[in-house]
Amino acid sequence: AQTVTQSQPEMSVQEAETVTLSCTYDTSESDYYLFWYKQPPSRQMILVIRQEAYKQQNATENRFSVNFQKAAKSFSLKISDSQLGDAAMYFCAYSNQGGSEKLVFGKGTKLTVNP
């Protein structure tokens, strides 16, 4: 079964600085998707960024970018120019290609942004 590991339960960053959240995963599949979801205190799950495993180019969405290392099974999220609104739980998630494509989540990293 696939597993997702987030080794940093908590991280903090100063406003306007850059922070990187780590994620590793375990799978024997070659085709899959990776996601970062943000969960603010409201507990709504919001997609931050999505990466397709067959694409070598790292995904970017404005201030958010990933470092996808397929061989190392690593998928870290970089947040640049951190803003107070970025404070939230961040979940890394994996989905197989084919089948139901359920999401398998890591335990999350709580990000605090200090003014």
Binding site: Y33, Y37, Q44, E52, S95, G99, S100, L103
Partner: protein, 113 residues
């Protein structure tokens, strides 16, 4: 912008009672999911649903759980006889095609006393 909605936002029930959690997925989506999150823990997959049938279910999704899409718009999760350990946030999600972003509803917080 289309969104997934869930009702109720908070449900309190007594142990042994039946509850039905309701979701309205985005209208052109075809794949539906239920997840749950026990407070302070990670989000766990419960069940996926496509073409009016379950496509996959987790070990958590035992005989006490069932899902239904009764009318082409609603997607429900029923827990037949609730237990204390069923207390959690339940999220519904939907997607237009597999591998795409799953859009999550705001969740139903279930408290079993």
């Amino acid at each position: 912008e289309p969104e997934v909605t869930q009702t109720p936002s908070h449900q309190v029930t007594q142990m042994g009672q039946e509850v039905i959690l309701r979701c309205v997925p985005i209208s052109n989506h075809l794949y539906f999911y239920w997840y749950r999150q026990i407070l302070g823990q990670k989000v766990e997959f419960l069940v996926s649903f496509y073409n009016n049938e379950i496509s996959e279910k987790s070990e958590i999704f035992d005989d006490q759980f069932s899902v239904e899409r009764p009318d082409g718009s609603n997607f429900t999760l029923k827990i037949r006889s609730t237990k204390l350990e069923d207390s959690a946030m339940y999220f519904c999600a939907s997607t237009a095609w597999r591998g795409d972003e799953q859009y999550f509803g705001p969740g139903t917080r279930l408290t079993v006393t």
